[in-house]
């Protein structure tokens, strides 16, 4: 029994803490303060760069604190989760405490409360309360909601209100914060963020993930049919444009030209134009220099083609174009790979790096092969993403703007029009109250007074 009470006490205390606006202030300030760190320390760089910048000890210390990826560090995530809990609990708490104000259809108006208000406007009328009542009622009923009329000893009181719903604005804002966080979470669990480069004419189905560098196989293949870049006279790029075809099981299912700011979306996956560059095409002019005679023979070849060399030097097959090739552990860039078969039947692989035309001399063969000319073609760099949380985030965006607007610039207003017999006429007093923006209430009452005075 007592332990139950104690645990209730703890739950209560936690609830109270999470409902407190003091915690909100602490969390918002902590988030603002700590967010600065990640803008001072470049995020997600190579460890070596950090060690160089900070030294070994500080590097270890910062690593433990997660400062190199701090927006995903445990403590930053805890701050965000606390803020979410804070906003949920606080809103729930206030919704239940304020339900008698928030969820009433016919409010109970109290004349005494209005009489104590500073905002009022009074005038005298020659017509008596009975006439005024018949005149005012349709007007007030049209202008206000939940109108209620009381007959008093020497006249009447008419109450009405507007904008009770605006009290929900702040809950909309708080809900929007929760939606943003949920949407972000959905995206990080069920989405991915990848990148792929495709030379013109090529088709790919695998992309690399940005976060881990892992490869991911898409449910469809992407073919880049064409890529174009245009420039301004200043030399700045004007437009990148890729013609893409999506293929499922080898069959085209969708075709679209994409440019920056106009992506392609298919099956929840979005493909964005991101960058471009050039790669050697699969055609080249090769030169074959015979060691024996010194003669140079040139021939234009495509990948896959075979050439019978003169002087009985053998046959040469241009086997493939390999990007970012390594030769004995050293990077040599893009290279054509050939297979040379000498007349005695021995075959060997020949590496022809585009950047190093004299490379093949090192092989000390009977024939020295070099890439004399090669054509280049563009590749397109595409950002390939899936984020199923975007819709939730966007609803949060809309809700936040609407909620803020309502909270800041709309208010819940009540008015009371009271008429008291005075001689053959009446004294009319208008009182008003608003939960916000009280200055504008005064003007509204004045306008209402003018409208009522002019009523015939």
């Amino acid at each position: 029994m007592s332990s139950l009470k104690a645990s209730n006490g703890v739950v209560d205390a936690i609830w109270k803490l999470l409902a407190s606006i003091q915690l909100t202030i602490v969390l918002l300030m902590s988030l603002a303060g700590t967010s600065i760190i990640g803008t001072l320390i470049p995020q997600n760089s190579e460890p070596a760069a950090y060690v160089a910048a900070f030294g070994e000890t500080l590097f270890r210390f910062f690593s433990v604190l997660g400062l190199f990826d701090m927006y995903h560090s445990w403590w930053f995530q805890i701050l965000i989760v606390l803020l979410a809990a804070n906003v949920v609990v606080c809103s729930a708490d206030r919704l239940s405490a304020g339900r008698r104000i928030l969820f009433v259809r016919q409010p109970a108006y109290q004349a005494a409360r209005f009489r104590s208000l500073p905002d009022r406007e009074a005038f005298t009328e020659e017509r008596g309360p009975e006439i005024l009542r018949a005149l005012y009622e349709p007007y007030v009923s049209r202008k206000a909601r939940a109108v209620h009329i009381e007959t008093t000893e020497d006249g009447f009181r008419m109450f009405g209100e507007n904008g009770r719903w605006t009290r929900f604005g702040v809950y909309a804002v708080h809900l929007s914060v929760v939606l943003l966080l949920i949407g972000g979470l959905i995206g990080s669990i069920f989405g991915f963020d990848g990148f792929v480069t495709i030379p013109e004419g090529d088709t790919v189905q695998q992309i690399s993930l940005r976060s881990t560098g892992e490869r991911l196989r898409l449910p469809f293949a992407i073919r880049c049919d064409d890529f174009d870049v245009s420039f301004y006279e200043t030399g700045a790029p004007k437009e990148f444009r890729s013609s893409l075809t999506l293929l499922e099981n080898g069959r085209p299912v969708l075709q679209k030209e994409i440019i920056v700011n106009d992506p392609l979306r298919y099956q929840g996956i979005s493909i964005f134009q991101s960058s471009y560059g050039t790669v050697p095409s699969r055609e080249a002019v090769l030169s074959f220099t015979s060691r024996g005679t010194g003669m140079v023979y040139t021939q234009e070849m495509k990948v896959g083609q075979e050439a019978h060399l003169p002087e009985n030097l053998g046959t040469f097959v241009l086997a493939e174009l390999r990007h970012q090739t390594q030769f004995k552990g050293h990077p040599v860039g893009d290279a054509f790979i050939g297979r040379l078969t000498t007349p005695d039947g021995t075959a060997q692989e020949v590496v022809l790096p585009i950047r190093f035309p004299t490379f093949d001399r090192m092989r000390r063969g009977e024939v020295v092969i070099a890439v004399d000319q090669f054509k280049e073609k563009h590749y397109t760099g595409l950002q390939v993403n899936k984020d199923p949380g975007v819709d939730v985030v966007y609803s949060g965006f809309i809700l936040m703007i609407l909620g803020c607007y309502v909270t800041f610039f709309r208010s819940h207003q009540q008015v009371c029009v009271e008429a008291v017999r005075k001689g053959s006429g009446a004294l009319v007093t208008i009182y008003g109250t608003a939960n916000k923006n009280k200055a504008s209430m005064q003007r509204r009452i004045q306008r209402l007074a003018i409208a009522l005075k002019e009523m015939k």
Binding site: A32, G184, K238, V260, Y394
Partner: protein, 281 residues
């Protein structure tokens, strides 16, 4: 007349307006104050005309776009929002002393745009990433918010000066509006600015999502706009706690404006990429 001549003239006019507001305040000359209002209105007209003319010029150059695409153009628009919001406040509150703390901000913004050697006023064609209507919405909403925060900053300085002296005292500070009015004004401007800053961050996120496929990437400029947002959210909530009216709210508004300035200028000193960084040069 070219837009840059017009905008240089506007800089000068805002300078005169600021001077007149200060003169009217210090020497108690209501006539100078009234003149200052008209001069500010003239500056606003020049600012608007310069903006439109620059837009037209960009079309004449063959790559027309709204002049909201680089640091120079955003500063011009920033000065415009400051002047507009200030004039609205002057009209609503019928007080010209605030002008002595607002018009100089519009002047400094324009002067920085015109005179800083790092800011080019050349009209440049848009690079692909900036060709988006979301960019226009993003810049407009952000700078309306920043304009409100700038005026709130001036008002908060006034609040701090006045609250140190006490309400009833005469002298220069005695001509300020009552502290309660200044506090209320800071709150009103804070709310207005917060709405537009939120809209600015949101339109920026939507733009980033259409250009790069991610609505948030924690790049320093984004992060600093979020820091600014947290600070003004703190300000709005702090008013609900007892004891947090007045001075602390004024300080939060000053710190918040510092964050605005850092988001705008300081971030370029940090490592990272945001389009303005390369565009400003």
């Amino acid at each position: 007349m070219t837009s840059s001549v017009l905008l240089s003239a506007t800089t000068f006019i805002y300078g005169i307006a600021g001077f007149l507001y200060c003169f009217a305040w210090v020497f108690k000359k209501p006539g100078a104050g009234r003149l200052a209002s008209w001069v500010t209105l003239g500056g606003l007209a020049g600012n608007t005309a310069g903006f439109i003319l620059r837009w037209v010029e960009s079309y004449r150059m063959g790559f027309g776009h709204a002049p909201l695409s680089n640091l120079y153009e955003s500063l011009i628009f920033f000065a415009w929002t400051i002047a507009l919001i200030y004039l609205f406040i002057e009209w609503r509150y019928q007080n010209r002393v605030i002008g002595a703390f607002s018009a100089p901000l519009a002047f400094l913004t324009m002067a920085y745009a015109s005179l800083s050697p790092n800011i080019s006023d050349r009209i440049q064609p848009l690079i692909p990433a900036l060709k988006s209507n979301w960019l226009i919405a993003h810049v407009i909403t952000c700078f309306i918010g920043y304009g409100a925060f700038a005026v709130a900053f001036g008002v908060s300085i006034m609040y701090l000066l006045k609250s140190r002296r006490g309400e009833g005292e005469g002298g220069l500070v005695g001509r300020f509006p009552p502290t309660a009015v200044l506090d209320e004004l800071t709150h009103q401007l804070g709310m207005f600015g917060f709405l537009f800053l939120s809209a600015g961050i949101i339109t920026g996120a939507v733009w980033a999502n259409s250009a790069w496929g991610r609505y948030w990437g924690w790049d320093p400029k984004e992060t600093w706009s979020l820091i600014t947002w947290f600070i003004y959210a703190t300000l709005l909530h702090a008013r609900m706690m007892r004891g947090w009216r007045g001075r602390r709210i004024a300080w939060l508004s000053i710190v918040g404006f510092g964050a605005v300035l850092f988001t705008y200028f300081g971030v370029n000193l940090l490592p990272g990429l945001h389009s303005y960084q390369s565009m400003g040069q």
